[in-house]
Each structure stands twice: as structure tokens, then as C-alpha cells.
Amino acid sequence: MTSTYLPGTRPGPDAAPRPLPPAGRARTRRRLLHWLTAMGFQLPALVLFGVLVLLPILFALYASFFRWGGFGMPSDYTGADNFTRLLQDDVFLGDLWRCLLLVVLSLALQLPFALAMAVLLNQRIRGRAVYRMLFFAPYVLSEAITGVLFGMIFAPDEGLADHLLSDIGLGALGGKWFADPSTVMATLFLVMTWKYFGFHMMLYLAGLQSIPAELTEAATVDGASPWQRFRHVTLPLLAPTLRISVFLSVIGSIQLFDLVWVVTAGGPDHHSETMAVTMFQYGFKRYQVGYASAISVAMFGVSLVFALAYQRFVLRRDLAGATTNMRGDGA
């Protein structure tokens, strides 16, 4: 393998002097060989992906057209009944609304907060490594533990939150937290922010550190104010990170389950229920697996539409050149 490696070819037994094309046949054969080699390597992964990801998705799609209790094969075909029922189901429509609410709150409050913390912790301040670790720690904690923990902290009257508030004379601010339809979403969002802002902060920190210091220095020399430096130098260069972070945040909100399940199970009276919780209720509590499949298909649809649209319109520049084909020439 000492031959010179030209771009557009790959080293191999037949790599060096590239034979002149004796019509298309040899090239076709070589392509086939490439294809077979690639397939050979991919097969195990493809089989796993097919059996564990594709097949269940397709099966859920199939099952969503049946009334089915989950055992044996679905046989009671009901057409699109499950989907029309979905659109008349107050709980499911509420799920969509709550999902939108969480997305908006995350984008409007949680991410800007994470960005502010990242910018702050990117400064030279004493003990910033400790702060970074502290703020990131909640993300490492499992959702179930977070749920149990905050269930206790926000227990009305008896929890830490209400005790603290009454100790500092603000007992009137204490509330029902998770225990009232009007406050449950706000409390849930508070916990979500506590849990996830550290993750986004870490993303932003990584992004900030890849911004060359010369640029900001140059801007300073040119007389830019701190805000101008942030707005016109840091922010544009951080944009790819921001776009990914928004993407992850939205997908996370659409698929939110564990935290809600542990802390409220969707209550009180469905006021914190998410699509995934509703799906779980129907699939594993009521054994209406057909209807639960319809919910999962709807969830998949919402995620897919968002993901595709976002990649097409927002992530386009970030992804340009990142896709590869198997010849490795990027074409």
C-alpha cells in the first residue's frame, strides 16, 4: 500500500494505476464489489436496526388500524377509526397543546438561561470548573430519581420548598405545585429546566471554546462594546450549536415521559399528561394496544415532520458536506 493516494480513489488491490475504462463493464463490476463489501460490513448493523427499530415501527403502524388487545395477531380491522378517535380525544388534544407549551417555554426561557450561564462560566472566574460540574450534575441524574426527589421537595406544606418559603417569611408564595391543575405545568417546567439546562449549557460552552479568541480581541480593538461582541461575533459563530440544541430540546419535549410518569403520572386530572404518558396508559393499563399504537404513530409523525422540516430549512448549512456516500468522495 505504498501507492500515492489520490482523492477520489481508495487504496486497494486495484488502486494504483487506474486502468482506462474498457467500457462500463469493469466499472460496474467494481462498483458491485464495493457495494458487496460495504454490505458485508453493514449487514449485522442493518439486521439489528431492522429487527429492533424498523420492524416495530412498521408493526405499530399496522396495529394502529386494528382494535387489538395486544395478544395474538391483530385481526379486528377498523380502518382509520383509531385516528378519528384520536382527534376527538380531549386528552390527546390536550397533550398536543401541552407539548407546544413546553416547546415554547423551553425555547423562550430554558435555552436563553442556559446560554447566559454558559457565557458566564466561559469567563475567567474562580471555581468555574466546580460550577460547571454542579450545573451539569442534574443531567446525569436519572429521570426517575429526579421525579421522586422533586415529588418530595414540592409536597404541599410538608415538602422542602414550602418549609423554606415559610422559614423566610414567604409562606404565602408556597403552593400546591404538582397538586393543582393550574400550577402543575409550571412546576414541571421548573424541574425540567433544573434537569436539562446544564446539558445545553455544556453544549454552548463547547461551542464557545471553539470560537477563536483573536476574533473577539480584534472586535475589542475595533472598539466593539461587550454586547456588540456578543451579538455580532459570539452569537453568529455559536449558531450551529444553537441550532442543534434547539433541535434536541424540541424532540425531548415531544417525547417527554419518565419524569412526568414518576412525578405526577399525568395528573392531576390529565393536566400534565404528555403523548407518551397517554400512550402508556392505553397500551399497558387498558390493553387497548391498537389505539396506543395510533398514539405512538401520531407521536412519530409529529417528531418526523419536525425533524425533516428542521433539517431541511434550519440545519441545511450545518449538514452540507457532512453526508457521505460509500465511495467516500462526498458527491
Binding site: 409536597a155 397538586a179 390493553y287
Partner: protein, 430 residues
């Protein structure tokens, strides 16, 4: 898996079984293979995974083996939820273990309809007649016996005598209006009348179920499920009574978010003397002491009050227990084991060591706990029995009852909404 041609159903079940662990797989064959020495192996599936019941049951199996040298008992223990999932899969595949735990009601009915369960009416008649009638109820389907109980319990009000005294209530209320008065008196005395776990909707369902038993009656509850129609006046009335109670704001602060057995939950509220009452099953005293401090001798029990003008009486009980059923072609040794397990000697041991309530009347002498004695007295005098609605009905219907009643308690559903939603789900279910 003796089947040469593995059906698709069988395959799905096997897949499900593999997911649940290897113990599960061994059960697919249904057990009872005769060994070379002529011994019969009987497989016994139960949910006694916690001590002391676990060791007591294992010791009992050994004792039975000693008495019957030709029989081997193979115990398979699964945790409650895993067991339910596993059994649903096994029912679909048509292969049940020789002896298996059952709660009776809708699930047992399903297994019976599939022809998978042994009719025990004739083989057990000679000794099962003497068992506590109310304990046998959950397993009595269309007049035939399909299971033998080892435990029975009921739901009722557990109350704090000291707090009742503080509020000037001399005797536990016997009617619904007296009950509402008691709630008002407790509130006036600055005591939270009731603890409820709003996060776990089955706790609220108990109120509606008991009220429906008292207004519409047990027969109407059965008929409504058979006819898929819960819109009868008695059920709406039950919801109205519950709404009257909710209007008094009797529950602890933040009850909509409260769990049942957590340190800030329903049981702890009563166990820490913060609330005066809870509507709960016979296990309440132990959970109150576990999640909270427990209130010792202050704890009392009274049955759910009668509703004026209703069809039901105060002696009709709502509850459930535990029992065993047999696979349709289980060997005689399995029947012998049920007889052994329901004997007075065994029951005395179970009552003493594992805090179940006696199913053999003579074993009640083994009861030492004053509260359980009260429950036992109610059960013995019971004139009617209604199994927990989520066990008596199909899962979707049971869940809908829980869900709708939770909405009624939270104030978002009317009594009519509740009956209509349950009816709608029952009709969808077929």
C-alpha cells in the same frame, strides 16, 4: 414447548416469555411431567415474593411433599406486575401452570371462557363448603367454583378515634348523611377529615364503587357490566353523593398530587394523625405504620355507611382476596395440594405468620390484631360481596372508572359524565 409446529401465537408468547426471564420459559410446557420413578411434578405459580410469606409458603410445599412422597412441588414466584403480564401472555397461548395465583373476577372469567381452567365444583365440594362464603365469591362464576381462596379482605373506613372525639363525634356514622355531618364537624374542629391519594386514581374509585353498591346495588353493578350500560339513575346518584362530599373540601391539602404509600401520601396522613379517616382495604394499618408513625390504639374501623333510600345495605362488602386456580387438565395432586393449603392447620399458620385473613372459619382464633378482628367480623357477617371493580371488569373499563371518578373528584366531570364515559368504554370493549 412440545409442539412440533410452533404456531405464530406460540412464537409470540415464547418471545414474550424470553423477555421476562428464563423461569418463565420453563412454565410454557405446563409442568406435571411424570418422572421415571412415578413422581408427579406440580408447578405452583404465586406472587409471594416477600418475606415472611415466601419462606412460609416454601415450608408448606416441603410439608406437603413429605406427606405425599410421590409429588414434587415446583414453586415459581413472580412479582405482582410481572406475574400479571406473564399470565396475560400465557392465557393467550393457552398454556397455564398447574396451580396459579388468581384474583378471580374478569381475568379468571376470561381464562375460563378460553377453556383453560379446571372446574373445581365437584372435586372440592367435600371440603370447600366449609370455607368462608364471602372468600369464595370472587372465584364463583356462573355458579361454578374455579378457585380456592387463601386470603380475603375488604375496604372500609379506617378512622382516628382521638380526632373523632376532638370533633365531638360519639359514634362512627352509619348513614351517608351522618357521614357528611361528621366530615363537617371534623372540619369545624380544624381537622382534615379525609386523606386521599389523588395521584393514584384507584383510591378515589373506592368511594364511587361503594356509593354505587349502596344506591344502585350489587346486582345493578353486575348487570351494568353485562349490558354495557352504566347510565342508570343509581349510578348517577352515586356520583352526585360523591360530588356532595367533594364540595365539602374534605381532603388534605394538595391531595390531587398525593401518592398512596409515600412518606407524604394518603396512608402517612392518617398514620401521622394529620387526617381523621381514609377509605382503604384491610392492609391499611400496616401501611399507615410503615409510611407514617401509625396511630396505635386510636385506630378504628367502620363499614361504608348506608345511603338513605338506596338498594344496598351496610353489610354488603367491597373487596377482594387471593386464591389459586388450576390448569384445565391439572393432575389430582394439584387438587390435593389445594385441599392441604385450605386446611385449618395451614390456614392457622398463614394467619399467624403472614397476616392474611382466615378463609377457614375455625382459623379465626389465630387472629390477634384487634383491627383485623373487626374486619373479619364484617366479612363473616357479610350479606353480599363486590370484587374490586378493576378486577371484576375488563382492564379498559376498570381504568375508565378510575379515570372518570378522578375527574369527578378534581371537579372537571359531572356525575353524568362519569356514567357516560364508563358506558362508552364498556361498549367499545365488547
Amino acid at each position: 414447548m412440545g409442539d412440533p409446529a410452533l404456531s405464530r401465537r406460540g412464537f409470540l408468547t415464547a418471545t414474550a416469555a424470553a423477555g421476562l426471564g428464563m423461569t418463565a420459559l420453563s412454565g410454557c410446557g405446563g409442568g406435571s411431567d411424570s418422572g421415571s420413578s412415578g413422581t408427579t411434578t406440580v408447578e405452583w405459580w404465586n406472587i409471594s415474593t416477600t418475606e415472611p410469606a415466601k419462606s412460609v409458603w416454601a415450608a408448606l410445599a416441603k410439608k406437603f411433599e413429605a406427606q405425599n412422597p410421590k409429588v414434587k412441588i415446583k414453586i415459581v414466584q413472580l412479582e405482582n406486575d410481572a406475574y400479571k403480564t406473564k399470565m396475560t401472555a400465557l392465557t393467550a397461548s393457552g398454556k397455564l401452570p398447574d396451580i396459579f395465583h388468581t384474583w378471580g373476577g374478569g381475568v379468571l372469567q376470561q381464562q375460563v371462557d378460553a377453556g383453560l381452567v379446571k372446574d373445581l365444583t365437584a372435586p372440592t365440594k367435600s371440603w370447600a363448603d366449609g370455607l368462608l362464603p364471602v372468600a369464595k365469591q370472587p372465584y364463583l362464576l356462573d355458579g361454578k367454583t374455579y378457585g380456592i381462596p387463601f386470603d380475603i379482605g375488604m375496604v372500609g373506613f379506617w378512622y382516628n378515634k382521638a380526632l373523632f372525639k376532638k370533633a365531638g363525634i360519639s359514634a362512627p356514622p352509619a348513614t351517608w348523611s351522618a357521614f357528611l355531618d361528621a366530615v363537617k364537624k371534623l372540619k369545624a374542629a380544624g381537622v382534615t377529615p379525609l386523606a386521599l391519594a389523588g395521584k393514584e386514581s384507584w383510591t378515589g374509585m373506592y368511594y364511587w364503587a361503594y356509593l354505587a353498591m349502596r344506591t344502585a346495588g350489587i346486582a345493578a353493578l353486575k348487570k351494568a357490566n353485562d349490558d354495557k350500560d352504566f347510565t342508570g339513575a343509581g349510578f348517577v346518584e352515586a356520583g352526585q353523593h360523591l360530588k356532595d362530599l367533594v364540595a365539602l373540601q374534605p381532603f388534605q391539602k394538595g391531595f390531587l398530587g398525593a401518592a398512596y404509600s409515600s412518606p407524604t401520601g394518603q396512608a402517612a396522613s392518617v398514620g401521622n394523625a394529620k387526617a381523621a379517616m381514609e377509605l382503604m382495604g384491610q392492609w391499611a394499618p400496616s401501611v399507615e405504620a410503615d409510611a407514617g408513625k401509625g396511630i396505635g390504639a386510636d385506630l378504628g374501623f367502620f363499614p361504608f355507611p348506608a345511603v338513605e333510600g338506596g338498594q344496598g345495605t351496610v353489610t354488603e362488602v367491597f373487596g377482594g382476596g387471593g386464591g389459586h386456580a388450576l390448569r384445565a387438565d391439572a393432575p389430582q395432586a394439584a387438587v390435593d395440594f389445594l385441599k392441604f393449603f385450605a386446611s385449618e392447620t395451614t390456614d392457622v399458620e398463614l394467619v399467624k405468620k403472614t397476616s392474611v385473613l382466615p378463609v377457614v372459619p375455625a382459623a379465626e382464633s389465630a387472629l390477634s390484631d384487634a383491627n383485623l378482628k373487626l374486619v373479619q367480623a364484617q366479612l363473616k357477617a357479610a350479606t353480599g360481596f363486590q370484587l374490586y371493580l378493576d378486577q371484576a371488569y375488563a382492564p379498559a373499563v376498570g381504568q375508565q372508572v378510575n379515570d372518570s371518578v378522578a375527574g369527578l373528584i378534581a371537579g372537571s366531570k359531572s356525575p353524568q359524565d362519569v356514567t357516560q364515559a364508563i358506558t362508552k368504554t364498556a361498549k367499545e370493549e365488547q
